[in-house]
């Protein structure tokens, strides 16, 4: 295979700086010792990280975000595993239409979903509730969970299950001891991808969150709309650091490109 020429490497260097610049600048400004936005030229300071502790709205929003993401991705995976097995194992009328329906939230703009849920929840009395947030997030992240579980289920050799059945295992045992362990990497990665997508979601959530139940990205978004100060950069820096850890975990566990492309032969 031929190597990249100097021109290609120069382009690559520029591109990587373009990608990293805004992320690094947020992290750099977070360490400023000044009371205003600036690069930390007079030494580093943690004062803006300590300032987060005095701003309970961010802490509370972070806690709500974690709960919301954990709950909604668990529900989504709970729906996705049986659905994927049904789609992979059986040929039945409506199979294609159903798969398309399950994947369709990917195609609906989140701003439209936000509006739809705002109207819908205010009609059925769920507006501003945590339950409403969970339900709406389940819809948005279902495609991510389903895609990875589908890929894992397609890749599984069904004869192993047949062997278990022929050896006298009942359906529940087969699922628990054979099927689930085999598709587990897909299930775990699907859950994590769903978690991150729920945790990062801002466009739809900004419509349906209420001041009392809101998520971290929405809180940050509303804060930035008013003014940008070093406090929000230190919150972002924490968020970036945490995402970085999850990113490396996911890359080790599943491979980042496979994760986004759906993996396997789906």
């Amino acid at each position: 295979m031929s190597r990249n020429g100097p021109l290609a490497l120069a382009f690559h260097a520029l591109f990587v700086s373009f990608i990293l610049a805004p992320i690094l600048i947020v992290c750099a400004v977070a360490f400023t010792p000044e009371g205003f936005l600036s690069l930390p030229t007079r030494g580093l300071s943690l004062r803006w990280f300590r300032a987060i502790l005095d701003y309970p709205e961010f802490i509370r929003a972070f806690r709500d975000s974690v709960w919301l993401a954990a709950l909604s991705s668990t529900v989504a995976i709970g729906l996705a595993v049986p659905a994927a097995l049904g789609i992979v194992r059986y040929r039945f009328p409506g199979r294609e239409a159903m798969t398309a329906l399950f994947m369709s939230p990917l195609m609906v703009p989140h701003v439209v979903l936000g509006i739809a849920f705002l109207r819908f929840f205010s009609q059925i009395g769920l507006s501003g509730t945590f339950l409403g947030l969970v339900l709406s997030h389940v819809i948005v992240i279902l495609p991510f969970a389903l895609r990875l579980v589908l890929a894992a289920s397609y890749g599984m050799d069904q004869r192993i299950e047949h062997a278990a059945v022929s050896l006298g295992a009942n359906a529940a045992t087969v699922f628990r001891r054979v099927t689930l362990p085999l598709i587990l990497p897909g299930v775990v990665s699907g859950w994590m991808l769903a978690f991150i997508n729920s945790f990062d979601e801002v466009t739809m959530t900004v419509f349906i969150a209420s001041p009392s139940t809101t998520t971290l990205p929405v809180r940050m978004f509303l804060y930035i709309q008013d003014n940008i100060d070093p406090l929000v950069t230190s919150v972002s820096a924490c968020l970036i650091a945490m995402t970085g850890v999850v990113m490396i975990l996911l890359d080790r566990l599943y491979g980042l490109d496979r994760l986004f492309l759906g993996g396997g032969k789906a």
Partner: protein, 287 residues
Amino acid sequence: MTAGSARLAPYLLTGPALLVCLCLLLAPLGATVLLSFYDWGQYKGIVEEFTLKNWVEVVSDSYFLEVFLRTLRIALAVTVLSMLLGIPEAYILNRMSPPWRGIFLLIVIGPLLISVVARTLGWALLLGSTGILNQGLISLGLLKTPVEFMFSETGVIIALTHVLVPFMILSVWASLQRLDPQVENAAISLGATPSAVLRRVVLPQVVPGILSGAVIVFALAASAFATPAIIGGRRLKVAATLAYDEFLNTLNWPLGAVVATLLLIALVVAVVTSNRMIERRYAQVFE
């Protein structure tokens, strides 16, 4: 397993997800389309009477046309920029040797997992009139007075390209992975120059990947919310921020529902037709 339960099994397995999608996806979307035909007044609120006046207002008012045209302009610019940056970058990544390839792939695609708000905040810091970009351009002597990138279309386009270019890279990367390197080697052994190999062997095979990447980037750029809201500010409206305003500031929900319905229809039509075209034109690649 009896024949009857085997027929029922797939529906039992997919049933819960189906129920959730019907109740929580199709019903709310249907209710929104319905809402766009309801009457609204400053004091009377939403009145459940069929009227076309919201649609007439959106279609006839030049303000809405301007917003939709701006949205289209931004989305097209972001798509073109993403292609110009993403296609060569994916190609370069593909030619790297293993350790570097994995590391740079992580750096280039990883930002997709970072909150859009955090990434856009970075651009707000870079682009402001006292921002790093202006200071850099001035110290290099390229600029005399700072240019205000914030609250401008240029700023929105730059930031959105940064947010969305990883999707283009992923898509091109995937089709590069499917290439058989032997075909390239065959072309070289037959005397093709490197540029001829790139132009006549590699590029034609990755066109479907480029096009489907472009569709994704366009759809996401046209419906982007947080980035145009932060970088564009309150003045520079796009379709998504316009709908947000109608819903949460003006409180004219039916009018916002018209904007949302238009956006939804426009995007679904654009995505479905272009995917159809790509699949038909390049059917052999998708076997």
